[in-house]
Symmetry: C2
Subunit: 434 residues, 2 copies
């Protein structure tokens, strides 16, 4: 039975069918847009139009001349309207990476438009991605993780962001994704943090986690470097990553049959492909009552990483000195910013020998048996320092006396890092941004 | 200066501002919707509302009871309006995976809603993805590739889709993504192909490529199995994958320092993480004038795969017989549907010995030197059969006489596969769907 329609309905139907022609009217449909239209009179807004679904390639309107990197000076900012602002969760509810702030940063790359486009800060929103985007099929994607800390002086600091940018560019190069000037990206996301600065927790147990991400968005099925990419940065207020045991330490499981990285692979680059394949082994470790996987490599069961952290060990060496060791950067290990900082800081301490050296499970077991193994801990931006009190390996359940030391190295390392990060001491690693 | 508006403009503005309230009118805006509104009278439309940007988890409205797999019987179809239909490109312009059809299939999984939701076919559209979705950061993603062939009898066939579904479920299990009933997914995308059947090329050199994809969409930063996922299927009319040399064969480059897969990894599962890390090596091979990389493994330089294909070799064995060999499924090799079909088909041929065996570069070089190496070729759904005429390895440039055989095995294999796929012969591998 046909539906009877009034004249208004006919008009309304016409409008819905023809709304694409009504651009002027569309801009008028929200009073919020007026301001924007005025603002953009001098400076036309970029339009990153979503590509038509079946087009072979997308042709957004060019708005910069070709150049090597995007520039902070080109940054455009569109602030969220009051009604778009989200309530800030309580510090104790934060967890890790569950809440996001009110704004985000986006920078598009289109080879055919000369490369990087203008950086834009905008209200936090979902991404509009073509379902054939290479990032979704071939893992052409990489990310970084760093934090903004609110210090005792209420100033906000970053911790060695240049190292993250260096690593991000190495990962881009390895992934066929475009490189950029890290200093320019630091300036852009610094502005983002400044805009969302009330999201930086007023707490020394919480921080604002910064997640720069670079993905290939060219919507074609060829397995090759994408001609279009999107760099975005999102912010998440975070507290602790792990729920540790009651003693504050974690238990780790080492299965010689699971492998995180391999020579000739991407284990030393922060790319998505290092993480997806670890999910199953991590779940298996969890079922056995462990927090994380200790990733071994080779017939000698060399320790490489633990979970998504670098691993450290403290023991009495053959010279009777207290030694802090971590595996060397042999291509299988992520060059952690926390890792590097610990090595650099601890090298200044007179009472500790610091060494990058191969550590095998046999060595761990032997040192432990002889009572020379004092501590093991993981280190990374997300977790800071995570002491380890137990290692499951083959049929063995190895207790590590990390939590039994009177003045543990892990605590000293952690206190030093936190002192720098939260402004208790002046240090060149910390960069005040607000 | 305020903009002067006519009464119609005021009405239009009001409509744009209030269109969310006008559901009935919206549904009337396309005449195609009438039929659907009637169809759905008994069965209310699902609403997959995008999660609010900063929410810790998304809570779309539950609309099915908990169950193990989605079901074809629950499939809902929303057809594209006439103005949404795209022109079909010429067969010669197709290339591989550059054009997409008018519709797509989406199936959401939300653990907290009991798992798989109802399958939906809808007009092709961009995905709306939270920027923290695990698929974009940790490569929690996998895909499949199969084809719909338009036969000489104008019927449309699939080729052993059950094997793709089996492999897809193994990849899901390996990735912490939800599993499902493969038969149900085949029925769902069969319906999708039927709807877009005019996109199946009327040609025996082109096909409609089917790309089922499963991604983790939970928007949190923990590296663990996602509680929300999206399975989508998109279709792309395709012709050839490679631009081969003038003789129709490809040249491949074997660098012992690059590794595609390793024991304990995911080389035998069709997940995104196997592809991103190969881009750099492939680009390097291309710069040296090769089409693809020959992936070697171990100190003996075992052949594993070539590009994104399985590899085959034809030679005169020690018993003087003509032998077709391919490396065994040792965990480093993707269990290709074309690979398996070739082994099964060729095993029936009396004049050929078929074997899965380790093949080293040394063996290839030795056989070639003795004049016993006859052919090498790659095999996969995307390329079908790709003869290889040249291998670059260390300082050597090895010519393979694949294109010099009077009655090459690769051609016989290819003709047999195409005969089955395009309906020249009846065979249980082919499944008529339209």
């Amino acid at each position: 039975m046909p539906i009877r329609r009034s004249k208004v309905q006919v008009l309304v139907k016409w409008i819905f069918e023809n709304q694409h022609k009504l651009q002027t009217v569309r801009y008028c449909s929200s009073s919020l847009r007026y301001k924007e239209l005025e603002d953009s009179a001098a400076q036309p807004q970029p339009e990153h139009v979503a590509p038509p679904a079946t087009a072979p390639s997308h042709k957004p309107r060019p708005h910069i001349t070709p150049e090597i990197s995007f520039k902070f000076d080109d940054l455009q900012v569109r602030l969220a309207a009051p009604y778009q602002l989200q309530p800030k969760p309580e510090a104790k509810e934060l967890g890790f990476g569950k809440y996001f702030t009110d704004h985000m940063l986006k920078i598009y790359y289109h080879k055919e438009l000369g490369g990087w486009q203008k950086p834009e800060i905008m209200p936090f929103e979902n991404l509009n991605i073509h379902p054939a985007a290479k990032a979704l099929h071939y893992a052409i994607q990489l990310f970084e993780g760093l934090k903004a800390y609110r210090g005792v002086d209420d100033k906000i600091r970053l911790f060695r962001p240049d190292l993250n940018m260096e690593r991000m560019n190495l990962a881009a190069q390895r992934s066929g994704l475009p490189m950029f000037d890290g200093e320019e990206l630091i300036k852009c996301f610094t502005r983002l943090v400044q805009i969302d600065q009330e999201w930086v927790p007023h707490s020394e147990t919480s921080t604002l986690y910064i997640r720069p991400t670079l993905i290939g968005i060219e919507p074609t099925f060829g397995i090759m470097a994408p001609e279009s990419a999107l760099l975005f940065v999102i912010l998440s207020p975070v507290s602790t990553y792990y729920k540790a045991s009651t003693d504050g330490a974690v238990s780790i499981f080492a299965d010689p049959n699971v492998v995180r990285a391999f020579p000739g692979g991407v284990g030393n680059r922060k790319v998505g492909s290092n993480y997806g394949p670890t999910i199953e082994a991590t779940a298996r470790a969890a079922k056995l009552g462990h927090h994380q996987v200790l990733w071994l490599f080779g017939p000698d069961h060399e320790l490489t990483e633990v979970g998504a952290m670098n691993i450290f060990m403290v023991y009495i060496n053959d010279q009777g000195e207290k030694q802090l060791s971590t595996p060397p950067l042999n291509g299988l290990i992520l060059p952690g910013v926390t890792r590097r900082s610990i090595i650099e800081l601890a090298s200044e301490w007179d009472d500790l020998t610091v060494k990058e050296e191969v550590i095998t499970m046999q060595r761990v077991i032997q040192l432990n048996k002889e009572g020379r193994l004092l501590e093991m801990f993981g280190a990374g931006t997300a977790v800071i320092i995570s002491p380890i009190s137990r290692v499951g390996f083959l049929e063995q359940d190895i207790s590590i006396p990390t939590m039994k030391q009177a003045q543990p190295v892990f605590q000293r390392v952690k206190d030093t890092l936190l002192a720098i990060q939260y402004g208790h001491m002046e240090h060149p690693y910390a960069k005040v941004i607000s």
